[in-house]
């Protein structure tokens, strides 16, 4: 049985994909806030990020330092082919699982 990534990992992976090369800690957090309305702590972003790096779904790339960061480098995240593949598999699985429910039956509450 293939192992799926967690929901948090999935959200972060999709956010990285959405940010198209401008994905680093602060921007990922901001994007998640815009999309979900939740203010995630940095800890709950770094944890899945580290996991994704370990699973080789995501690559870390060192950027340049900026003034706003007190002269510290940014680290950008970027999807690897494995990451894209895993995301695709997950999406297909999602679609199959969700298929067959008319939206009305959920909104009714029973």
């Amino acid at each position: 049985m293939p192992k799926f990534m967690t929901r948090n990992e999935e959200i972060i992976l999709l956010t990285i994909l959405k940010l198209k090369g401008n994905a680093y800690g602060v921007s990922i957090r901001r994007q998640i806030y815009q999309d979900t309305g939740g203010r995630w702590s940095f800890a709950s972003i770094y944890q899945p990020l580290d996991n994704l790096v370990r699973k080789n779904y995501v690559r870390r790339i060192k950027g340049d330092p900026t003034a706003r960061r007190g002269g510290k480098s940014k680290f950008y995240y970027e999807l690897t082919p494995e990451g894209r593949h895993a995301l695709l598999k997950l999406k297909k699985a999602h679609e199959r699982i969700w298929s067959g429910f008319p939206e009305i039956s959920l909104e009714d509450g029973n």
């Binding site: 702590s41 800890a43 330092p65 706003r68």
Partner: protein, 496 residues
């Protein structure tokens, strides 16, 4: 494919619009992460902190920052613990795999461990049980034993001479007059047997003289010297029968009428104690004033734990022991004869006898027992150590199978491969010896402190122990290494 946010390096020198992250927070982050990750995370933190500071004021930003750091901290700790567990699981897996692969080695080592543990537990249980002796009494600490004890006669912590009051002796003599009356006749009857070389009596056994007393003697300068000495009452021929050597003066003799009441023989230690140059003719206050008529060569009248103490010997009619010096041939017949003579005199006490050497040996029971226990457990320890060495040899041989195969293919001879094994082993044994010597020396010398007379721990003991360790180890290893060295290299190269 990297996009930049446009805020490039050159800009940050101009001004810092936002307050910097507190030092302490930076330091915590530095502790939590390695250099690379620290850069990223503290940078992100600083950026978000600055933004929030502009939005909702520095105080809110600070509170937010500290919460973030707390959460990061918890996260890092949790991940670390999880990784520890995963590593542990891996280690166990590797260990199990190794145990499976080196079955003989594991078996021998584990067997050694089990034997050692079992012995340890047995000894522990044994000692605990022994220590629990008497503690079944609810108030064990209130139980006492009442006895008379001579001063200065205990050694090794044993009260070896618990006695009845001295007034009992004359009373007993009155009650049992035949003891004294029959003594002479008894001696003569015993002497009739050709296997009996001599018969004498004494107040105590000369291997364990218990009666001690203190007296004031005059030194040659006229000073008073308090001498703590032991006393034994004997028969006239006591010194002859026990074949003791006179150093000065003469033995007791019936020709001198005064010997029974006024003469005493002392031992060399006594002379040393009072520092006399010429002892014959000196007076000492033993019961009454007595004249020293001779000096007997020092002999051990206690166990070797004690130094030889000053001793006084005088004629005494009060004899509890009758000693017979007998030939070793035809021992049972002689003993039967002694019993028969004894019974003929109808003494009320039953016939009891012991050999003096047995009596002497009894004093070393503790050492003998200790020796047996020690030998047993040393044997066991050596056995376990041998198992360990054997296991090591098997392990080494297994590990180096391929190496040995290659060496043989390249033309190494069997002796050279054996030498390889032996060299390594010998080196380790020598190192182990160097570590073990001081420890052994320390404990041995501590134990030997118990004895007044003791051997020196010579260098040869260590040399012999090292040599025997090497010998045993090589013997243990030989089997395995010869097997490995003589194996066909084709097999070993195909190994695994």
């Amino acid at each position: 494919l990297v996009g930049f946010s446009g805020d490039l390096f050159g800009g940050w020198e101009l001004k810092r619009t936002c307050p910097a992250v507190p030092r302490l927070a930076e330091r915590i982050l530095k502790l939590l992460y390695s250099q690379d990750y620290y850069l990223e995370r503290s940078g992100d933190m600083e950026e978000a902190y600055g933004e929030l500071g502009e939005e909702s004021g520095p105080f809110r930003a600070k509170v937010w920052l500290w919460f973030q750091i707390l959460k990061l901290f918890c996260g890092v700790i949790r991940t670390n613990i999880i990784w520890r567990f995963i590593m542990l699981k891996n280690y166990i897996k590797i260990t199990l795999r190794n145990i499976k692969r080196h079955k003989t080695f594991s078996f021998i080592n584990m067997a050694g461990l089990v034997v050692g543990m079992t012995c340890f537990l047995l000894i522990l249980v044994y000692v605990c049980y022994e220590l629990s002796y008497d503690s079944m009494h609810e108030k064990a600490d209130r139980i006492y034993r009442v006895a008379f004890k001579h001063p200065g006669t205990s050694y090794m912590g044993h009260d070896s001479h618990l006695v009845t009051p001295s007034a009992l002796a004359p009373a007993l003599m009155e009650s049992f007059p035949e003891v004294r009356k029959n003594l002479k006749a008894l001696k003569q009857s015993i002497m009739e047997n050709p296997n009996v070389l001599g018969v004498t009596t004494s107040s105590s056994v000369p291997t364990n003289i218990g009666s001690a007393l203190g007296m004031k003697c005059k030194s040659e300068d006229g000073e008073d010297i308090e001498v703590h000495n032991y006393w034994i009452g004997v028969d006239y021929n006591f010194i002859d029968v026990f074949q003791m050597e006179m150093v000065q003066g003469r033995n007791f003799s019936k020709e001198f009428g005064t010997d029974a009441e006024g003469a005493v023989i002392v031992n060399e230690s006594f002379v040393k104690e009072v520092n006399w140059s010429q002892s014959v003719g000196k007076k000492i206050p033993l019961f009454s004033d007595r004249e020293v008529i001779g000096v007997v060569k020092d002999f051990h009248f206690h166990s070797l734990h004690m130094k030889i103490k000053p001793l006084t010997i005088s004629i005494s009619p009060d004899s509890r022991y009758l000693h017979a010096r007998i030939r070793t041939e035809n021992l049972p017949a002689t003993l039967a004869y002694l019993r028969e003579v004894y019974d003929r005199f109808k003494i009320r006490y039953p016939f009891e006898y012991f050999f003096l050497d047995d009596h002497f040996n009894q004093m070393y029971q503790a050492e003998l027992k200790f020796g047996t226990v020690l030998i047993t457990f040393s044997g066991l320890a050596i056995f376990i150590a041998c198992l360990g060495i054997f296991g090591l040899a098997i392990h080494t041989a297994e590990r180096r199978t391929k190496e040995i195969g290659i060496r043989k293919v390249l033309g190494a001879s069997i002796p050279s491969i054996l030498g390889l094994f032996y060299n390594e082993l010998t080196r380790w044994i020598l190192i182990a010896n160097i570590i073990a010597w001081p420890v052994a020396y320390f404990f041995m010398s501590q134990w030997l402190q118990n004895f007044a007379y003791r051997i020196n721990i010579g260098l040869w003991i260590f040399v012999v122990s090292a040599a025997s360790a090497i010998f045993i180890a090589l013997l243990t290893v030989s089997f395995q290494s010869i097997k490995a060295a003589t194996a066909n290299p084709v097999d070993s190269l195909r190994y695994e």
